[in-house]
């Protein structure tokens, strides 16, 4: 697998260097949070580079290459080992000839690629927290495999089918144990109204052995409504890991007060095992975004997580983030 990734990277560098502009962004974050575990009694506050993306994409046709290197620092990073550098995307897109009239922009995607699922591929971090699926560690935003993606004619939506190793992008390797299949479709019947459904099915190693395979299902229904300065999103997430059923939902609202300032709110609920009482938790986020310039977005978020279990204290944090793009 490392060989395949190396070939993809080599393709990017050799075939695309002449016309592959480099772009990306860095997120510098300051976080103030209350204790998240009983062992930690003091409040914590720290700076971190939560994301540093270096991206490039060739303009070659019919096959183009794109890549993203993801650089992050751990909390209170003090040593070089506290920095993590990962390949997030290394993807070849092969635009399929002859079917563009019926399936616009139809392409085969090969390599480490974006996962089209629920809100995962739509989430642009309007609030600082990850989307519901990733926050609850039920999905990864990038996976290694192959996929087919196409738009629907007339801008009425899109659909995709993908097959992955199913291990995310931090640990892409697997040996014949847990291939995942993903189907995704969005329909935009009217401007500003989008309906989306996604399904992920996989077999995962059960317990400590890779011989026993257990079911891993994920499914999502999503409705997005946009009108002028208002955006509303509602999402339902269902999960099944072996015999354990989980469910959650997210509501998101954004109001653009001016062309550069917007206020945002989000409510999450997730219960990892619906058969167990008092097992769920809520997350409430309030925030403000300020587009200082085309290349600098400032975000301020307050976030609180509360638990149905009365014995668990809530966790809250204030985050200020500067997102610099280039």
């Amino acid at each position: 697998m490392k060989y395949i990734l190396s070939v993809l990277l080599l393709g990017l560098m050799v075939f695309g260097y002449a016309e592959a502009p480099i772009y990306g962004y860095f997120w510098t974050r300051y976080t103030f949070e209350t204790p998240t575990t009983p062992e930690v009694e003091e409040n914590e506050h720290y700076f971190s580079i939560e994301r540093g993306y270096i991206r490039w994409k060739t303009k070659t046709s019919p096959v183009s290459f794109s890549g993203t290197v993801d650089i992050t620092s751990k909390k209170n990073a003090t040593a070089s080992t506290d920095w993590q550098i990962r390949l997030k995307y290394a993807q070849a897109d092969w635009t399929l000839p002859g079917i563009g009239e019926y399936l616009p922009d139809a392409k085969l995607m090969l390599g480490l690629q974006k996962v089209y699922f629920g809100i995962v591929d739509l989430w642009e971090y309007a609030v600082i927290e990850k989307n519901l699926e990733e926050t609850e560690k039920k999905m990864n935003s990038a996976e290694l495999g192959v996929g087919f993606h196409s738009l629907l004619p007339g801008g009425y939506g899109e659909f995709s089918v993908q097959a992955f190793n199913g291990n995310g992008y931090s640990n892409v390797v697997e040996v014949n144990t847990n291939k995942a299949l993903v189907g995704n479709m969005s329909i935009i019947p009217l401007p500003g109204v989008m309906l989306k459904g996604s399904y992920w099915m996989a077999e995962q190693p059960g317990g400590d052995t890779v011989i026993t395979q257990v079911t891993q299902d994920r499914y999502v229904g999503l409705l997005q409504f946009t009108y002028g300065p208002v955006t509303l999103i509602g999402e339902y997430l269902g999960t099944k890991d072996d015999e354990t059923n989980g469910m959650g939902y997210m509501g998101f609202a954004e109001l653009a007060v001016t062309k550069v300032i917007s206020i945002l709110g989000r409510y999450d609920y997730y219960d990892s095992d619906t058969d167990v009482d008092n097992n769920g938790h809520n997350r409430i986020i309030g925030g403000l975004n300020w587009d200082v310039s085309d290349h600098l977005l400032t975000q301020i978020n307050y976030q609180i997580k509360t638990f149905e279990d009365d014995e668990r204290d809530s966790e809250d944090m204030i985050m200020v983030q500067f997102k610099v793009s280039y």
């Binding site: 616009p104 738009l151 629907l152 801008g155 009425y156 401007p191 500003g192 002028g228």
Partner: protein, 263 residues
């Protein structure tokens, strides 16, 4: 008292002025600028801002609600339409002009016509002598710089987005190209139809001579429509401005800017 009244009048003009922002294609920019100036001369309450940046930039601005009209020298891509609809924007296209690209050579060059295939072979460096297409001597390839809308159109219509030869002389304007071709016996270049002069020879492309008539009836292949996109059917000042461009006065401006009127 007079000063106060004057100040109040100025303030009221500022408060009630209708504002319109236009952004996008550098090809459409001269039309939009000239039309905006003429429209504001006749409508003092109108405050129209025109910016370039390219078709993609203008379309992105329309999708983000940052502009009222997006100028584009190409139709919106399927992906852009999908993104627009996703964000509640309903893009409506208005064809305000047509752009014909004439392939020109030095007047002493004996050839009178050329095929799209030969244009592509010349501009990609596959052919570098006129002997192979009926002329004499070495070919000097002259092109617009890659940032121009004319380059983008020529690259798509004639070259099928193939990579231009490194030997090409890249110039910043239609006028520079016309002047260089007129002074260089072995040169070949391309310019907007409105920039044709007697100092250069326009070639037939696939047997069709570029003209207003052949551009408008779609028989000349190196031609394209130029668009202004609005979110839904235009209203208010945007409607007035689009109507003005489509009027005979607006189409005269189109012609004076070197493009082909659509009416």
């Amino acid at each position: 008292m007079k000063n106060i009244i004057t100040l109040l009048l100025l303030l009221s003009v500022g408060l009630f002025a209708q504002k319109l922002t236009i952004q996008g294609s550098t090809t459409v920019l001269p039309i939009a600028q000239a039309a905006a100036e003429a429209y504001m001369d006749n409508n003092p309450d109108a405050d129209i801002t025109v910016r370039g940046g390219g078709s993609g930039t203008g379309i992105a601005a329309l999708i983000d609600g940052a502009t009222d009209i997006a100028d584009a020298s190409r139709p919106m891509k399927d992906k852009e339409i999908k993104t627009a609809r996703e964000k509640g924007v309903n893009p409506v296209a208005h064809v305000v002009a047509r752009d014909g690209i004439a392939v020109v050579v030095h007047p002493d060059n004996p050839i009178n016509g050329i095929s799209i295939e030969d244009i592509k072979a010349i501009y990609t460096g596959e052919i570098n002598r006129w002997d192979k297409v009926g002329g004499k001597g070495t070919i000097v390839v002259v092109s617009r710089d890659a940032a121009s809308g004319t380059f983008e159109a020529f690259n798509e219509l004639a070259l099928n987005n193939a990579k231009l030869t490194d030997a090409a002389l890249m110039l910043a304007s239609n006028l520079e190209i016309a002047r260089t071709v007129a002074q260089t016996p072995g040169a070949i270049g391309y310019i907007g139809l409105g920039y044709l002069t007697d100092e250069v020879k326009a070639l037939k492309v696939e047997g069709i001579m570029p003209s207003e008539a052949t551009v408008n009836d779609d028989s000349y292949l190196l031609a394209r429509p130029l668009f202004m996109y609005t979110n839904g059917n235009p209203k208010g000042l945007a409607k007035g401005f689009i109507n003005f461009i489509m009027s005979s006065a607006g189409q005269t401006i189109v012609k004076e800017a070197g493009f082909v009127p659509v009416k």
